[in-house]
Symmetry: C2
Subunit: 307 residues, 2 copies
């Protein structure tokens, strides 16, 4: 039930209406790993960091059961760095700095010890690199999930379309689903995407929840209404980590179980936004997670007494 | 189990990206009545129309069990008229024309035959008129629900605050909840509103669903993901009609049953937007409604298998 996670490990500098972080640890693969490690003890990370990335962070990830054998450490370059500032609505943000640094040279190599993994989470990266990881696997994982973003639709659409034919689940936000299909209606966009390769589509709508589609079904998970969203950075990756962690733990990739996995992902994301960066994710216990899952049951369960 | 509905009955002229309606029947009370009449046969309408309002429409409402004894017909003035144009996102619209006409003189009178009603739906109107209806009732209804809008927060805030102390449920959209409380966080806004009088608060978020709050609980109902939203006019009032209709039918005003009522309201609203004006609401059968309610069960029900 091991899960390979491919993505960035980075430094972020975040400003929100509630405050300013220092230079903190971020990156899509970091969030996915922290979230998933609550459910399984065999997360296998593929990423790249520079000479400035703290060994203590790598050690901490390993203490959570995350293998960092696939994390390349580049001796003469700094790690990927992103700085951004969120607007009052917390749904929009300005990117202030993007220093690719080591990411310029990223050529993910799957370590021999990762072969045979049943689950693969391809975090948002250049589509060619995502494809390269799939091609390096000697046995196709049971489930391949791909995250991407508008940037690749604009600069590498053909590559993206090619890797889409190789994955099981696509995870994008609503505006990306629209951009990929030129359809304004989310339902129409979903139908088109399901002809492009993926059998499942997850559309993330931030504070408005997430939708799961397959050919015949649709499921909706709300976001937990929170008093304060302190920092939304990493919420989407944390959602992905919870989703993959639950599926890998239960080894059940039915639509029914994906519904539960989406609720688990939403619960994990609701923790992520409560503090800066990965801080909250590092604190939570199994009891916290169970309590939060119960909040979701209360939030959406109802009784239809049809006459 | 009768339900008094107070609101407008009007003509609308609607333009959407999908087409243009003729001058069609609209008004908040019209939508509430059509939706509620699917669940109870004792809707009691209080409204005002002009000399141009078709008798056939009043007859049709009566055939659905809606009493129009409280609908004043003004002989020498035209009915309230609104014209609007929706933008591509269908969440925003421009008002092109607002001709108040008979609404200028509206002074709602509760007919003697309506006394004793257990449910009261106060559609969006001048807060003083909403208060006047409550004061005319000799027995306080079991449940009073009030809809309002930003316009009254800007022009009649004190009156609005006064009538809020007299009702059980406030129904507003998310931006109105923010405006009423000066809180950006919906959860904080809800907490404030629940200190202003209402014991329950429903926040409508259009295509993003609806939230129900009381002091200790929160419930979320999604909107049904539709291929096309053809015309959103009246969706909020139709939601209110389904909500009130279900409560009046079941005579159960517990939080648990309000959850179901919100799903019923969401189901009715999902029909409303499929065609112009009230057209779709006039076509649907009990089987259609049951089918749609089942779609909502499929859409949100999940199984948490906590280990």
């Amino acid at each position: 039930m091991s899960l390979i996670v491919v993505g960035t490990m980075a430094f972020d500098d975040i400003e929100t209406p509630f405050g300013k972080s220092d230079r903190i640890i971020g990156g899509s693969a970091t969030y996915v790993a922290y979230a998933a490690s609550n459910f399984i003890d065999s997360v296998e990370q593929i990423s790249i960091v520079g000479n400035d990335f703290p060994q203590a962070e790598l050690d901490y990830l390993q203490s959570k059961g995350v293998s960092v054998d696939g994390v390349e450490i580049v001796k003469d370059k700094p790690s990927f760095f992103w700085a951004g500032k969120y607007h009052m609505d917390m749904n929009t943000r300005d990117t202030l700095v993007t220093d690719l640094n080591v990411l310029m040279d990223f050529n993910p190599i799957v370590p021999e010890s990762y072969q045979g993994a049943e689950f693969l989470m391809l975090g948002n990266l250049m589509p060619k690199l995502q494809k390269s990881v799939i091609e390096q696997l000697k046995t196709r994982p049971k489930l391949i999930v791909l995250d991407t973003m508008n940037f690749w639709m604009e600069t590498a659409l053909d590559d993206l379309k090619e890797v889409l034919t190789m994955v099981d689940v696509l995870m994008v936000n609503d505006s990306e689903a629209r951009q990929l299909t030129n359809e304004f209606s989310i339902v129409k966009a979903a139908k088109k995407i399901l002809t492009m390769g993926p059998k499942y589509l997850i559309i993330k709508k931030g504070e408005h929840g997430a939708l799961l589609f397959n050919e015949n079904n649709v499921f909706f998970a709300p976001a937990l209404p929170l008093e304060e969203v302190f920092d939304p950075t990493g919420a989407g990756d944390t959602f992905a980590g919870g989703f993959m962690g639950h599926l890998a733990k239960t080894k059940d990739i039915s639509f029914e179980n994906m519904k539960t996995a989406i609720i688990v992902g939403s619960a994990m994301a609701s923790f992520c936004v409560e503090k800066f960066g990965t801080e909250r994710l590092k604190e939570i216990s199994k009891e916290d997670i169970e309590g939060r899952l119960n909040d979701f049951v209360q939030l959406v369960n109802f009784d239809i007494k049809l006459a």
